[in-house]
Subunit: 141 residues, 2 copies
DNA sequence: TTGCTAATGCTAATCATTCTCATTTGCAAT
DNA sequence: ATTGCAAATGAGAATGATTAGCATTAGCAA
């Protein structure tokens, strides 16, 4: 029911593909999904949604503020549910695991860096590429 | 002569296309160039270098540590001369002007953020997207 | 000067993403 | 419930950046 409200308020019709995609993210085990990921997952669960539609819906959701889009290293972009909390990302170069973090000091200094140089910060993207040192990383031990 | 040394030490033959590309960056008015940019500039100066070669050379130079590659918002990537000093970027959303900056505190906190979560920082990319408030911005006044 | 390997320059191929357009579907007004 | 129509979908073609394949050319060491 919540989804419906979201879609409505975004001026989007409540259609099958859109509901499927949205619930994928809301039920999500993986928070960060590419268009291809979404497409595969839907196919796997027997829901036939065209790839073009997935791309369209994802972008509409981003516009509507339901999702946030990220460009990690490499070509394809990934989306995650927008839960209001801004955060940055650490991506493991080995296993691809993504961890989120927020550092008020970094945010602060960014704003200052921009202001000092005569810019008005609009947005930023910070990705840290690293290696897990935890045993969690599937490519270690 | 300096270029020659660079190429040699990178195990790259000193060829015309490579010298052309390298001097483009070293003489550079624009520090940040895409493959397409390089291609156009070379054509403009009467030097005929194939686009594929430009891409190849750019990547080889990156591997060799002569250039650094960046992915600003959007699709195409840009290269800049590697002068040893790491820095991040502020990109004007209006005019595309790129300003470089370095903030020791931000660097520090990033390392800490990674370490705190069991990662060993390998690399990071930080891009600030902003609007010039200086009259410099060609899309203002 | 010769010879061989690496480099170049085309063009065709890839990959992610977007566009086109004919067909279908949500939904508001009968 | 039924109808009508704009909005949404699906399939495949088109795009744009980047890379691969291969025949030709050019550094450079002997």
């Amino acid at each position: 029911m919540n989804e419906l409200l979201h879609l409505k308020s975004a001026g989007l019709k409540s259609t099958l593909p859109r509901l499927k995609v949205l619930s994928l993210f809301e039920s999500g085990s993986d928070r960060h999904l590419s268009a291809e990921d979404v497409y595969r997952k839907l196919l796997a669960s027997g829901d036939d949604v065209g790839l073009a539609t997935v791309y369209r819906v994802l972008n509409q959701f981003e516009q509507a503020g339901l999702l946030v889009k990220h460009h990690f290293e490499g070509d394809k972009s990934v989306f995650e549910l927008n839960q209001g909390d801004h955060h940055d990302h650490i991506v493991c170069l080995q296993c691809g695991r993504v961890e989120e973090f927020f550092d008020a000091t970094i945010e602060q200094r960014q704003k200052k860096a921009a202001a000092d140089r005569g810019f008005e910060l609009h947005d930023h993207s910070l990705y840290i590429y690293a290696n897990c040192i935890k045993p969690k990383c599937k490519y270690r031990n």
